[in-house]
């Protein structure tokens, strides 16, 4: 170790403030690399929804719709479920960052606070859009026959992306709130049940009255109905407004909560 010489550059130059979105770009790249190396999480977030779709289509589907078109009904729900699984990984990544020393290093640099979270969110968006594409591909193979035109597909993709963004922001905040990666995935698990209590898998009017009220007024139902309306040509009504409103509300709420938590967590030592 005597070979270690003093690093050159005896002149100390202050670190510059980064221009534009350099920090965000670096953190997106970091999170992407993490996602690709974490093959288990990536394949689970694709495999699990695909298996659920096959389960719903071939096991429950016959009983729910003997005509065999249940797959057309269930795909929007599976897409949201898939996005939920994928976004839940974000909570784990964020919690891992916060519980390791690396966050202190970033916080002691002249960076926009939250750039590291933006990295996780953007990378989650890319990861989940990929998983969604795989799920839709498999759905088409097992008989999914959407009636959507190009404009409707673009609209549906936009709604899906908006939902992924919303739930990812929420999971990122959960990751900040949780004390450890394990706790983060535990809290997130509760959220993954929401699609079951919506119109994702069965029409709401088949549920008991008290549950109908919840299913009708929770965010997942309008989002499901919007995607279903765009892809299958069912009536849209005011559902897209509710869907966009809910997503915007979740993003705003999570961003505020996340920023507050991010500032607070520095006092953890």
């Amino acid at each position: 170790m005597t070979a270690i010489a003093a690093p050159a550059a005896a002149t100390t130059v202050p670190r510059p403030h980064l221009r534009g979105f350099t920090a965000e770009a670096v953190f997106v790249r970091r999170s992407m690399t993490q996602s690709l190396r974490d093959g288990e999480s990536l394949s689970m977030s694709i495999m699990l929804p695909v298996m659920l779709m096959l389960l719903f289509t071939f096991v429950f589907g016959g009983a729910l719709d003997p005509a065999g078109s249940y797959v057309d009904y269930v795909v929007p729900g599976i897409i949201l479920l898939c996005a939920g699984f994928g976004a839940a990984t974000t909570a784990t990544y964020v919690a891992r960052d916060m519980s390791s020393g690396i966050i202190d290093r970033f916080r002691t640099m002249p960076l926009r606070s939250g750039a590291v979270l933006t990295g996780h969110v953007i990378s989650s968006l890319a990861r989940n859009l990929l998983a969604t594409a795989v799920v839709i591909g498999v759905a088409l193979l097992v008989g999914f026959r959407p009636s959507a035109g190009v404009a409707a597909w673009v609209g549906a993709t936009a709604v899906i992306a908006l939902y992924i963004l919303a739930i990812t922001y929420l999971f990122a905040a959960i990751g900040l709130a949780a004390g450890s990666p394990e706790a983060a995935s535990g809290y997130g698990f509760i959220l993954l049940f929401l699609p079951y209590l919506s119109s994702a898998f069965v029409p709401v009017d088949t549920m008991p009255t008290w549950l109908q009220w919840f299913a009708d007024n929770q965010p997942i139902t309008p989002i499901i109905e919007t995607i279903r309306g765009l892809l299958m040509g069912t009536g849209l009504g005011t559902e897209p407004l509710w869907a966009i409103g809910w997503c915007a509300l979740i993003i705003a709420g999570s961003a505020v909560w996340g920023a507050w938590l991010f500032g607070r967590k520095s006092g953890r030592r």
């Binding site: 170790m1 005597t2 070979a3 270690i4 010489a5 003093a6 690093p7 050159a8 550059a9 005896a10 002149t11 100390t12 130059v13 202050p14 670190r15 510059p16 403030h17 980064l18 350099t22 920090a23 670096v26 790249r29 970091r30 690399t33 993490q34 190396r37 974490d38 390791s100 020393g101 690396i102 202190d104 290093r105 970033f106 916080r107 002691t108 640099m109 002249p110 960076l111 520095s266 006092g267 030592r269």
Partner: protein
């Protein structure tokens, strides 16, 4: 740029009713290696957290590289680097990727960041492990990478929070070597440690922190002089200490001390001369070496 590297005045910090820092005063000139010595819970990490802008002080002021940590944290962040207790490295990335990422975040171009990464991997003896995931690194390698990350851009002030805790003795000596070389490059090094030997070996000056206040400051030599001079120790044939007598270190003093020991009464006796260590300083100043001391609840009123 004649401001001291670190200037702390009347710094106080409490968590709830527990007073962690109770009016800290400290000045560290540029270019020094300064060690803050204290037991667990003495307030070392809180001090570093305030100086590195991670926490805000409740009372008093702190300036790093001439900039106030509360009113101008961004200017401080442009000039410091922190290597914390838990290695601040990204486990999922390789050594090179960690360094390139930090380079980019420090404002280097992609090309310059890669070149700097190569340089640092070489200088911190990590070239062989450059393309391996950091999760496969040994404890010593992680610490070296951690230090290398702090040096992607040479900081004015480098903060090291217990840099060698949990590191084996050989790696510890290697790390000391690295830290000395960093200091030679012109950086002020502020480190905390609970190892007295570390402060003795590494630091130009040492401050002893106990229950949130500085109880002594000086060079290791000055501090040792505080607890008196040499001690003549008489041990019996089994090596057990029979008697100790302080002496001024002069030949006359030594002869008198040996006479006084009563060497003839102890069969197989051995006489050794013990010089004061920082352990003695620490013991006499704080009452207990390396032991967690309770936060000073009862002093809260004085500063309330």
């Amino acid at each position: 740029m004649n401001a001291p590297a670190i200037d702390i005045r009347g710094l106080g910090k409490s968590f709830g009713r527990s007073v962690v820092l109770d009016g800290l005063d400290l000045t560290v000139p540029r270019g020094e290696i300064f060690a803050l010595l204290g037991a667990n819970g003495a307030g070392k990490t809180t001090t570093i957290s305030i100086l590195t802008t991670l926490q805000r002080p409740d009372r008093g002021t702190a300036a790093v590289a001439g900039f106030d940590v509360t009113t101008n944290p961004d200017a401080v962040r442009q000039r410091i680097a922190l290597t914390g207790q838990s290695a601040a490295v990204d486990d999922m990335l390789t050594g090179t990727e960690n360094l390139v990422m930090l380079g980019r975040l420090s404002g280097l171009s992609p090309r310059r960041a890669r070149a700097r990464a190569c340089e640092l991997l070489d200088r911190f003896a990590l070239t062989d492990a450059a393309t391996r995931g950091v999760r496969t690194y040994s404890g010593g390698m992680r610490r070296r990478l951690d230090l290398a990350l702090s040096f992607v851009v040479v900081p004015d002030v480098l903060f090291l929070d217990e840099p060698t805790t949990g590191v084996d003795p050989r790696s510890r000596r290697d790390l000391w070597e690295v830290i000395r070389s960093l200091s030679d490059a012109g950086t002020t090094v502020f480190l905390t440690t609970q190892y007295l030997e570390e402060a003795d070996q590494l630091a130009d000056r040492v401050a002893v922190l106990d229950a949130g206040v500085i109880v002594a400051t000086g060079t290791p030599t000055e501090l040792k002089a505080l607890v008196g001079t040499d001690t003549v120790v008489l041990t019996d044939a089994d090596g057990a200490v029979v008697r100790e007598i302080p002496t001024d270190g002069s030949v006359t003093g030594l002869r008198a001390a040996i006479d006084e020991l009563g060497v003839d009464d102890v069969p197989g006796a051995e006489v050794t001369l013990r010089r004061p260590t920082l352990d003695d300083v620490f013991l006499s100043l704080t009452g207990a070496p390396g032991e967690a001391s309770a936060p000073a609840f009862d002093t809260a009123e004085e500063f309330a």
